[in-house]
Amino acid sequence: MRINSKVLLAVAVMPLLFTATAKAELNVFACEAEYGALAKAIAPSADVYSATTAMQDPHQVQARPSLIAKMRQADLVVCAGADLEIGWLPMLQMKAANPQVTSTDKGLFYAADQIDTLDKLTRVDRSMGDVHAKGNPHLHLDPQRMLTVAKALSVKMSELDPQNSNEYQQSFADFSQRWQAKIPQWQEQAKGLAGKKVIAYHSSFRYLFNWIGIEQVADLEPKPGLAPTSSHLASLLTRAEQGDVMAVIVASYQDERGAKWLGERANLPVVMLPMSVGGNEQSQDLFSLYDSLLSLLNGVK
C-alpha cells in the first residue's frame, strides 16, 4: 500500500518536473558547430546540441537515430539554410515528429534567411555539380553577416522564450559589443592578405575570402561536390605554375590528399583552416575561430 502511494506520487509529480526543467532552459539543436557556438553565446543557459562537428561535411550527414532523438526534444533548430542541409534536415523533421521545429514561423531558424547570400543562381542544373539556387550557405565566416544573424537569433529566442528574453538581449548586446570591437582588429590583421590568390577546396571559404579580399583562382573540386580527379589536378598544377598563387587551402572536414599532391608539385604551402568552432585546438568559440583563421593565413610564407 505504501509503495503504491509512492509510485502514484511519483507519477503525479513527474510531469511537473518535466515541465519545470523544460521551462528552465531553451533546448537548441544546431545543425553546425558555428551555430551551436552562436546559440550558446546568446543563450548561455540554453541546452545546446550541435549535430555536426567542424570535422564533418555538413552536406553529407546521415539522418541518424541520435539526431532524431535530439530534434524530437528541441525548442529551436538553428541551421545555415540555403539548402546546405537538404539531404538530411527534411528527413529529421519528418522522423522527429516535433511540429515546434518544422516552420520558420515557430522554432526553425535559417541563418541564410537573415542575410544576402553570395552567388545566388538563377538557373541550376546538375551538370554544374551539387549547387544550390539559394546561394552559398557557408556564411558564418563573414563577421558583418554573422552579427546580423546573431541579432535575428536573439530576437527569435526572445519570441520563443519571452520569460528569458532579458538574458538573450543582454547576451546579444555583450556579444555584439565584443564582436564589433574585434572586427577592426581582424581587418588590421587581414590587410596584408588582400589581393592574394589561393587555390581552395569547394567554395567553403567564399565569405572569408570575400571579406578579406583574397581571390580563389581555382577549385580543387572539378565541380561542387565532386572529388578532385587526376586530370583536374593536372590542370590546377598548370595554373599554379603561373607563380601568383599564395597557398592551397582546405577546410578541416576536407580530404587533404589532392591539396598535398598539388602543394608538393607546385611547391605551395597547404593550409588546413578550421571550418568551424572545434576545427582546431585554438578555435574554442567564434572569436578564437576568426583569430585562428587569420593567424593561419598570415602564417603562410
Binding site: 550527414v61 539522418a63 532523438a69 555539380g129
Partner: protein, 402 residues
C-alpha cells in the same frame, strides 16, 4: 485503361512543374520535390524470386512527387514503371499523407506506403548497395512490403532514440497461396507492431536496433488434397510483388551499425547491417474442411505446428572514396513448400560481392557477383550470376536515410 490515365496525368503533372523543380528550392504545393530514378542492367542469370531477369532489362523506373500539403499534412506519390517479358506495367508504390503537427511525438501515415518493419523495408530499393534485396526480403515480404493502410508512430522524448509504431494493412500481397480462389480472406489482413532504438557511440559510430512483429491473418497456407504442379510452376514464373512464403506470425530482428572517420561521411564510411526473419504458423488445416475431407486425415501428416520459415542476412558495405564503394553480403532462407500433404524443405544461400562507382552523389554504376546455392529451391541450383547495373536519380535531392 485506368493505369494509362494515371501515367499520362503523372507525366503531365511532372512536365507542368519541372521548370520550377530545377530551381531546387524548398518544396511547396506550387513547387513540389520531383525526382525520377533510372535503373537499367545486364545480367548473366536469374536469381530466385527476383525482379531482374537474365539479359538486358530495366529495374524499377520511379517517378516521385512530394510536398508539404499545408501546415498539417505532407503528401507523397511514387509511381513505378516496370517492364517484364515485353509488358510494361505501372504501379503505385506510394501514395500517402502524413501528419506534421500532432503533439507529443505522434504521427499518422495513411494511404499506400512502405511498412516500417525491419531495417531495409522502409528504404527505397534504389538506395540499396546490392542489385536485389536479400533473399529473406524476396521470400517473406515480396522484395519490399508496401500496402494500403495506416500507421501510428510515436517517438519518445529521450536522448536515446526510441520509436514505436503500429500498422494495419489490407494485406493482399501477403496472402497465402489460394489455388482454387475459394478462400475467404480477411479484408484487413496484416497488423504490425515495431520498435527501434538507436544512438551514437562517440563521434564516429552510430547504431540502431529494431524488433518487429507482423501478424498476417491470411498467412496460413492450407493443406491441399491435390497440388497442381503445373499451376505452382506458373505462379513462380509470373512476376509479382507478393510474398512467396507466408505464415500467420512473422518476427523480425534487425541491426545496423555505421562508422565514419571523425563521423565525416563524405570520404570513407562503413555500414554493417543484418536482419533475421522467422515466419511461424505456416501450414494448417482449412477450418471446417475436416468433415467433407475425411481422406485428408488418412494421409500421413508430416507437418506440425512447429514448422517455420527462416531467413537472415549480414551485409557490410565500405565506401573507400567518394567515388568508390564495395560490399559483401551473405544471406540464406530455409523454407518449406507444401506438396500434397507433406512439406518439402528448401534452402537458398547467396554470397554476394558488389563494387560501385559513383560519378557524383546522384549516379551509381554497380558490378555485382552472386554465388547462389539452392537446395530443392524451385529448380534453382548452384549458379554464379554477374549483374552490371546503373542507378541514377534526377530532380530533388534524395535523403541520407540512416
Amino acid at each position: 485503361m485506368s493505369a494509362l490515365n494515371t501515367r499520362v496525368s503523372l507525366l503531365a503533372l511532372a512536365c507542368a512543374v519541372s521548370s520550377y523543380s530545377a530551381m531546387a528550392e524548398d518544396s511547396s504545393l506550387t513547387n513540389p520535390n520531383i525526382s525520377a530514378v533510372l535503373d537499367g542492367y545486364y545480367q548473366t542469370g536469374d536469381r530466385p524470386l527476383a525482379e531482374r531477369a537474365e539479359g538486358f532489362g530495366l529495374g524499377e523506373t520511379e517517378l516521385a512527387l512530394s510536398a508539404n500539403i499545408d501546415e498539417m499534412f505532407y503528401g507523397k506519390v511514387t509511381a513505378v514503371v516496370e517492364s517484364h517479358d515485353g509488358e510494361t506495367e505501372l504501379n503505385l508504390e506510394e501514395a500517402f499523407i502524413q501528419t506534421l503537427a500532432l503533439p507529443n511525438g505522434l504521427s499518422v501515415r495513411a494511404g499506400r506506403f512502405l511498412s516500417d518493419v525491419g531495417y531495409l523495408n522502409n528504404q527505397h530499393k534504389h538506395t540499396d548497395a546490392f542489385t536485389e534485396r536479400p533473399a529473406a526480403y524476396r521470400a517473406f515480404l515480396g522484395g519490399h512490403y508496401f500496402d494500403d493502410g495506416v500507421r501510428l508512430s510515436y517517438v519518445a522524448p529521450t536522448d536515446v532514440y526510441w520509436t514505436m509504431g503500429v500498422e494495419a494493412f489490407k494485406g493482399d500481397s501477403m496472402r497465402a497461396a489460394d489455388e482454387h480462389g475459394e478462400r475467404d480472406f480477411d479484408d484487413v489482413g496484416v497488423f504490425s507492431a515495431l520498435t527501434k532504438i538507436g544512438g551514437d557511440i562517440g563521434i564516429e559510430s552510430s547504431w540502431q536496433l529494431g524488433l518487429s512483429y507482423l501478424r498476417n491473418e491470411n498467412g496460413l497456407a492450407y493443406a491441399e488434397e491435390h497440388e497442381d504442379e503445373e499451376e505452382t510452376d506458373d505462379e513462380h514464373e509470373e512476376h509479382s510483388h507478393s510474398a512467396s512464403y507466408t505464415g500467420e506470425n512473422t518476427y523480425v530482428a534487425d541491426f545496423v551499425y555505421k562508422w565514419a572517420p571523425n563521423g565525416n561521411y563524405k570520404y570513407q564510411n562503413l555500414t554493417v547491417s543484418g536482419e533475421y526473419f522467422r515466419v511461424t504458423d505456416i501450414f494448417g488445416e482449412e477450418p471446417g474442411h475436416d468433415d467433407d475431407a475425411g481422406d485428408v486425415d488418412d494421409h500421413d501428416h508430416e507437418f506440425s505446428g512447429d514448422d517455420y520459415h527462416e531467413g537472415w542476412y549480414l551485409s557490410s558495405v565500405y565506401q573507400f572514396s567518394p567515388s568508390w564503394s564495395a560490399g559483401v553480403r551473405y544471406g540464406q532462407v530455409d523454407t518449406y513448400e507444401i506438396h500434397e500433404d507433406h512439406l518439402d524443405p528448401q534452402k537458398l544461400k547467396e554470397t554476394e560481392l558488389s563494387v560501385a562507382w559513383h560519378s557524383s552523389h546522384f549516379s551509381t554504376v554497380r558490378l555485382q557477383y552472386t554465388h547462389q546455392e539452392g537446395t530443392n529451391f524451385d529448380g534453382f541450383e548452384d549458379d554464379n550470376i554477374v549483374t552490371l547495373q546503373y542507378v541514377m536519380s534526377l530532380g530533388a535531392h534524395g535523403a541520407h536515410q540512416f
